[in-house]
């Protein structure tokens, strides 16, 4: 019995470690400037926790096998504990965990405490049951106001824009795909129309809830061109699993062409 448990625990440990080391399930491609730092922190955490994981699991397996009752009349060690030992691993755990946290703090600050650079491309992202719409300010760089009573999905006015009366809205471009130029800072302003949604692009290493009543900014710079999935990652109703759109990272030139093409269709 003891051997069986020890083997099972050891096997679980080895297989788990192998999955990580052989990168069976690994992180997807990273296309952002801040992504490498996150991946680095992730790897660091993997290494630290991996060591503890291996030591603890194999220790468990070893103890289970070594200290089994062999019926040889051996008595168990009578010990109520070891103060020094306990203090040591308490301190070690504290230093490790808190240290790891402090190391991750800089990235968090970079992502959230510092705003987007002033020359960033600004796009409003609107989440609704169960679709995404993106609004570019057009040549004037201004987003016109939105009017709740003007919202009409059937006629394509998802934002409630009044192009006739509001000068800021006149040249606004609303699309169903988020296209951004490569290597240029982008600031997204996240809005939700009905319930809470969540903007998640794995390759961008960005995830942010979109909360009704709030305008939440996130910013990034994409480093690779391509087409990536934008998924809603907050349960938002019966079509949640299908709520997706695509992020297209293009060259500056392609992006301008795309934008003009979209403007023509408004």
């Amino acid at each position: 019995m003891a051997l069986a448990i020890a083997v099972v625990v050891a096997l679980i440990t080895v297989i788990s470690v192998a999955i990580v080391v052989l990168k069976v399930w690994w992180m997807p491609l990273d296309i952002s400037t801040h992504g490498p730092a996150i991946d680095h922190q992730m790897n660091l955490t993997l290494i630290f926790t991996g060591i503890i994981f291996i030591l603890a699991q194999l220790g468990l397996a070893w103890f289970v096998w070594k200290y089994r009752d062999r019926g040889d009349g051996r008595k168990a060690i009578y010990s109520h504990g070891h103060g020094m030992l306990e203090a040591t691993w308490t301190a070690m755990a504290a230093v490790l965990f808190i240290g790891l946290n402090l190391m991750g703090y800089r990235m968090w600050a970079e992502m959230y405490f510092r705003g987007a650079p002033p020359d960033a491309l600004r796009v409003q992202v609107l989440g609704q049951q169960f679709a995404w719409y993106f609004r570019y300010p057009g040549p004037d760089g201004q987003f016109g106001p939105t009017h709740v009573e003007k919202v009409n999905d059937a006629s394509g006015n998802f934002y409630g824009i009044d192009r006739e009366r509001d000068p800021g809205s006149k040249d606004d471009i609303v699309t169903a795909t988020l296209a951004v130029p490569v290597n240029r800072p982008v600031e997204l302003v996240l809005l939700a129309k009905d319930v809470t949604h969540d903007f998640y692009v794995r390759e961008l290493r960005i995830q942010q809830d979109m909360v009704p009543g709030m305008q939440i900014p996130v910013h990034f710079t994409a480093t690779k061109t391509g087409r990536f999935e934008i998924a809603c990652n907050q349960l938002c109703g019966l079509g949640h699993y299908k709520m997706r759109a695509f992020l297209e990272v293009m060259s500056e030139e392609d992006f301008q062409k795309w934008l003009q093409n979209m403007a023509a269709q408004q």
Partner: protein
């Protein structure tokens, strides 16, 4: 003061008649069993739901014969719709978290064994105890009734984030009456949990028998006590939140709903509220809740590991202290559920520090469990196997939490299967292992017979969920047909093993035991046997 305690003896007589003996019983042992079987019912339903979830995920158009009869709207022709999947998800979570993980380890085992282990005749408030069980029962009935609502069960998940859960049926199926019933069910559950928690605390503080110092209590009692404190403080908040959500839904208020919402082309007449307010209130409850689910399992594991290692628990004081530390810290970390919620990133950082800090007492517990095994004389009973499994699972689950506690890494992993894996590992499977361990350990005390151990069964139970039914079969089979167990089959030390199995109505025959030792005096050098019971006046010379 002594008089006060004497008052507690023979406060109530053994009841007569079926109803008073088994249905509206005031006996903590009967109520403990009632809770246990309520959780068993909930876990079976919850498990079936999880199977359906898996089936829907892998074979979306699979036809399940008979399901259309149970849910004609949710599964027309036996094929589950996407919204039915979300209903299953919501009810699986709600059932498991509230009616299984909160109910069985704490209210089930705790009710049965807390008074026995501290040498009391019963809980401090037997009537309140009965009331809390039946309140919980009504909560479960209301929750299960959502299956039979025309629109189907609620689909907003066990966390019921508004505005989805607040704006009514415009937001989708199940968001009408189904969601109303969900909120009502949880509010009712809160009341039951509060009454239960109050009872546990008063019992632990007041009814310990002579000599049962706090630092002599079995760690199970410590775990139940800390859990009860968490319950008392956190369910009170959830209750308040449920009242507000219900007001939003039926009273037209806007606590959780901001203005200017358009749900399915309909302008929602709410204005001024905040969805984040619910998240704060909910997770202020929700994170302590995680520990409410796991702490009793930790207590049971500690208890059993010591017993079957034939060794005192390693670092008893630190074990008790770490339970309290975890309990205290659990109220300071709710924000780590909200790193990506739109909450201020500065508070995200603070919450992250506290969350990392909670890893320290958890690590201490793991090391001390290993320390308990070290140099022991291990007996591999079923209960021991599950306890060892608990330690292994807790290590894996706990370490995965280190990733999620860092906001930058969490912003990548949040709400993915990483999180699902993390909490299922810790409060799902580990807590369930704790329950299995407790069941195998205490079954001979509760219902006389020992559950027969079949290695095959144990291993298959580890591997497949379906094997749980072998457990159920075994449990009921043993209940009726099993061999009789002696008073103390495990040669354990705590007070529940001093009374016959099953214990008589007043537990200790109208007298209070006197306690001379801590709960883990195993393998004392020079002692006659390799264990010294808590009520044995034998002198311990070694230390």
């Amino acid at each position: 003061m002594a008089e006060l305690h004497a008052e507690a003896v023979h406060r109530h007589e053994a009841p007569k008649g079926f109803i008073w003996k088994y249905v509206f019983s005031l006996d903590h042992k009967v109520i403990g069993k009632q809770y246990y079987f309520l959780a068993l019912l909930a876990v079976v339903v919850g498990m079936v739901l999880s199977w359906l979830i898996r089936v829907r995920m892998v074979w979306p158009s699979a036809r399940i014969p008979g399901l259309d009869k149970l849910s004609p709207v949710g599964a027309p022709g036996g094929v589950m719709t996407p919204e039915y999947y979300l209903s299953l998800l919501t009810l699986h979570g709600t059932l498991m978290i509230f009616f299984v993980l909160t109910t069985a380890p704490q209210s089930g085992f705790g009710n049965y064994f807390l008074p026995l282990q501290i040498g009391a005749e019963d809980m401090a408030f037997p009537r309140l105890n009965m009331l809390s069980f039946w309140t919980t029962f009504v909560g479960l009935a209301v929750l299960l009734s959502t299956f039979f609502v025309t629109d189907g069960p609620p689909i907003s998940g066990w966390t019921a984030y508004p505005p989805l859960s607040a704006v009514g049926s415009a937001a989708g199926p199940g968001e009408g009456l189904g969601q109303d019933l969900w909120v009502i069910s949880i509010a009712i559950f809160c009341i039951g949990a509060l009454l239960g928690a109050l009872n546990f605390i008063a019992t632990t503080l007041d009814l310990r028998t002579r000599g049962m110092k706090l630092m002599r209590m079995p760690l199970t009692c410590w775990a139940w006590f800390v859990t009860a404190v968490l319950g008392l403080l956190s369910f009170a908040v959830l209750f308040g939140a449920c009242v507000l959500l219900l007001l939003d839904r039926v009273g037209g208020t806007s606590f959780f709903t901001p203005g200017g919402l358009i749900v399915s082309d309909k302008i929602i007449p709410h204005t001024g509220g905040s969805p984040l307010l619910w998240q704060h209130l909910f997770w202020f409850f929700g994170h302590p809740e995680v520990y409410i689910a796991i702490l009793p399992g930790m207590g049971i594991t500690s208890h059993i590991l010591s017993c079957f290692s034939r060794k005192p628990i390693f670092g008893y004081k630190v074990m008790a202290a770490s339970l309290m530390t975890i309990g205290f810290l659990s109220f300071t970390v709710w924000g780590h559920h909200m790193f990506v919620s739109g909450m201020s990133p500065y508070s995200g950082f603070t919450f992250s520090i506290f969350t990392m800090a909670i890893g320290v007492p958890s690590a201490i517990k793991t090391f001390n469990w290993l320390g308990t095994l070290w140099g022991g004389k291990l007996r591999f009973t079923s209960a021991m196997l599950f306890s060892i499994g608990f330690v292994s699972l807790f290590v894996t689950g706990g370490l995965s939490g280190i990733f999620l506690a860092q906001p930058a890494v969490d912003s990548y992993l949040h709400a993915t299967y990483f999180v699902v894996g993390h909490f299922h590992m810790v409060m799902g499977v580990a807590a369930i292992f704790g329950m299995f361990a407790g069941t195998y350990f205490w079954f001979p005390k509760i219902l006389k017979p020992l559950i027969p151990v079949h290695e095959f069964m144990t291993i298959s139970a580890l591997i497949t969920g379906a094997a749980q039914f072998i457990f159920l079969f075994n449990l009921f089979w043993s209940m009726f047909k099993g061999e009789k167990a002696s008073t103390n089959p495990w040669e354990a030390t705590s007070l529940e093993w001093t009374v016959p199995s099953p214990p008589p109505f007043d537990n200790f025959g109208g007298k209070h035991p006197v306690v001379y030792h801590g709960a883990y005096e195993y393998g004392v050098p020079g002692a006659e046997k390799d264990y010294i019971m808590q009520d044995s006046p034998v002198k311990i010379t070694a230390s």
